[in-house]
Amino acid sequence: MEEHMNLLTTVLERYGADPEALVEILRDLSQETGYVSQELLVAVADRLQLPRSHVHSVASFYSMISVEPRGRHTVQMCQDAPCHVAGGREVWQALEETLGIHFGETTPDGEWTLQVTSCLGLCSVGPVITIDGEVFGNMTHAKVQELLGRYRGCCCGGSQGGAA
């Protein structure tokens, strides 16, 4: 927790502890710690002298700010039309079936979180998914199974996060 408080100080300095930068502060915290815990939300409210309800309302509104723990791997699927037209629904179902969870959920073992993302601009290779930020295009039902299997079979997680 102390680690997180130090991070909070760093992030607040980045934005000059400006309450107007609340969205960015929360997004940075979420990205750097995986999610913004209840304690962290309270600390943000105290440090910026904002009502806790306001901080929570903002944190829960934006999809890039998570208020719940996320899995070790995050799978995102493009939710936009070009990917859908290219066969996105099959990929969508394959992801839900293979991981046994719905979009927006995390597997009980804390391994996988399944999310949607808005257009990544890679429409020529749709349907597109990302795993821990690494992009995979031209997905099919079969490729989802193969790809997730590869991640599961590898103890290190296998990803280099190539799409920073």
């Binding site: 107007e20 960015e24 934006y62 939710q79 257009c119 290779v125």
Partner: protein, 594 residues
């Protein structure tokens, strides 16, 4: 076979082999080998620059490459469409090949891919900041407004409101403190034109905003950019810093008494923040929920101060209108829609990507001349324009000239220029359901008709797609669409029913087939289709049975196989792996009883 990109690599340079090897490996790794062709050339530039390569059709020229650079080029440029500025050739540029379509006229995209976005001198060399200089030293704000009026420029982010009017309202609004805002939160599916401009020509947008600030009397501007575009954000920040260093932003710009500075604000993933009032809430650090209009942003915007908000493409047009004159801009386009517009073509066409054409070209020209026609030479079915709030335009309007008025007439919108092409294999009911899933998910929840109504419409559409459609569902959808559009505050709710209404209007027979015959004519909706093995064609190779994830396929080796429809989950793997195309999809349907 047409390739999406052709790469020429200089094979004679020392180390070229390792670079080419790395390039090819990465291309195979991402399965781009069918889309990208690599060819060897002896040398590429006027003077040798180490290992070089040029990527066509854009003509991007990379120099001094290492194998690591080559891998990065595949990941960034080829896969994600983000050219890597730091690896590009800086000097006398080779003339890039124009895209195959001669219909294109580049105004907004004129510098993209041709200048180094990380170097302000490149922009200045192509008359950059010339318009700002002209405005500050030779023109009154009224003259600028006159020029804009003559140009006929309209907002490029959606509704197409005349830009000069918007600026006039903000100029005339009383108040000492005013703001200029750039909406870079484009969220149309497949529409990434703003990202391309921000990453390729950021100074054009900065210059356009500075001119707007001069006209309305603002000293401070905000860029609101999606956090999904990290490269656009870093490019923009660098450009702003360079403009400050050159005295083109900050106090007393170009020695005049005009002062203006810019700040970048990032979103955090909320589609509704593309709506102007929601965007301003987000800049202020709150939930991005729209507010009631009036008051309009021009009188009470950011922090309740008069504000002018336009999108990236609108601002990017302004400097050229000032330099070349309103008449020049107005010479392109149709009677009421002037100039050019960028479109992101996606979906079932041979060539996808970003284009810029004069308004008034027909849908047919965009799909067939620019887009190269439908993938696999299938039949065109519809094009969906304007993002999730737009409608589906059917084949009978192929020769419709594309402008704001015409798109509205056929039940769609311009939006920011999304252009998703659909072929005969697309189920229009499924498409309507898909867009409703999107808007239902993105509804901010403020207005009950939008929050609850989109969910109810989605439930009906899901029932129809899954074979539970009832007589009267179409009429129920139409009635709800009307109420949601009328009773929602912002464009998201008002436009949410458009995909449903336009598909009912143009493809009612497909809805009826789903509801009354429990049949999906495009053979897409899973509960209404069956996979069937043709016993005559099947060679009994057992491949389908071995790959079936639910063991729904039975049969002995070398004998015809059979799929049990009660077990089958319709994943389609068997059809993909069958070596003799023996598996087909059928949707025979059954007439509803009673």
């Amino acid at each position: 076979m047409t390739y999406r990109a052709n790469i020429l690599i200089s094979s004679s340079a020392p180390g070229a082999q390792a670079v080419e090897q790395a390039l090819l490996e990465k291309i195979y790794e991402h399965h781009l080998d069918g889309e990208v062709q690599v060819m060897q050339a002896a040398t590429l530039g006027p003077q040798a620059q180490g290992v070089e390569l040029v990527i066509y059709p854009e003509g991007t020229h990379y120099v001094q490459l290492t194998p690591e650079d080559a891998r990065l080029i595949v990941e960034e440029h080829l896969l994600k469409g983000r050219p890597i500025a730091r690896l590009m050739f800086k000097g006398i540029e080779v003339e890039p090949l124009e895209a195959p379509a001669s219909k294109e006229i580049r105004v907004v995209l004129r510098n993209v891919g041709k200048i180094d976005p990380g170097n302000i001198d490149d922009y200045i060399a192509v008359d950059g900041y010339g318009a700002l200089g002209k405005v500050l030293t030779e023109m009154t704000p009224e003259q600028v407004l006159d020029e804009l009026k003559r140009s006929g420029l309209r907002g490029r982010g959606g509704a197409g409101f005349p830009t000069h009017l918007k600026w006039t309202f903000a100029r005339n609004a009383p108040g000492d403190e005013k703001f200029v805002i750039c909406n870079g939160d484009e969220g149309d599916p497949g529409a990434f034109m703003n990202r391309r401009v921000l990453e390729g020509d950021p100074h054009a947008v900065i210059e356009g905003m500075a001119i707007a600030a001069y006209v309305i009397g603002a000293r401070q501007g905000y860029f609101y950019v999606r956090a999904e575009y990290p490269i656009a954000i870093s490019t923009l920040r660098l450009a702003i810093q360079q403009a400050r260093d050159y005295g083109l932003l900050g106090n007393n710009i170009l020695g005049t008494d005009f002062s203006f500075d810019l700040e970048v604000r990032m979103g955090a993933g909320a589609f509704v923040c593309g709506e102007e009032t929601a965007l301003m809430q987000s800049i202020e650090g709150a939930r991005g929920m729209p507010t009631t209009r009036p008051p309009f942003p021009a009188t009470k915007g950011l922090w309740a101060k008069p504000s002018n908000i336009n999108n990236v493409e609108t601002y990017a047009n302004v400097p050229q209108i000032i330099l070349k004159g309103g008449e020049w801009f107005a010479s392109m386009g149709t009677e009421k829609s002037k100039g050019t517009k960028t479109f992101a073509i996606a979906g079932k066409v041979k060539r996808t990507g970003l284009i810029e054409v004069p308004l008034g070209v027909t849908i047919r020209e965009i799909v067939y001349d620019v887009g190269g026609g439908i993938l696999n030479d299938k039949k065109f079915k519809a094009v969906q324009t304007g993002g999730p709030m737009g409608g589906c335009i059917p084949e009978k309007y192929l020769d419709l000239p594309v402008d704001y008025e015409n798109l509205a007439k056929v039940g769609s919108i311009m939006g920011s220029g999304g252009f998703v092409v659909m072929d005969e294999d697309t189920c229009m009911v499924d498409i309507a359901r898909f867009f409703m899933e999107f808007t239902q998910d993105e509804s901010c929840g403020k207005c009950v008709p939008c929050r609850v109504g989109t969910r109810r419409m989605l439930e009906i559409l899901t029932d129809i797609c899954e074979g539970r459609g009832q007589p009267g569902d179409i009429e129920r959808l139409e009635a709800m669409a009307k109420y949601i559009a009328r009773a929602s505050l912002c464009g998201l709710g008002q436009g949410a029913p458009n995909p449903v209404l336009s598909t009912i209007e143009n493809f009612r027979d497909e809805y009826e087939a789903h509801i009354y015959e429990k049949r999906c004519p495009a053979k897409v909706c899973k509960p209404l289709i069956e996979y069937i093995i043709d016993p005559e064609t099947c060679i009994g190779c057992t491949r389908c049975a071995r790959n079936c994830p639910v063991n729904a396929i039975s049969g002995k080796p070398k004998q015809a196989h059979l799929i049990d429809p009660s077990v089958c989950v319709r994943c389609g793997i068997c059809k993909q792996v069958c070596p003799v195309n023996a598996i087909s999809i059928e949707s025979e349907g059954k007439l509803a009883v009673g």
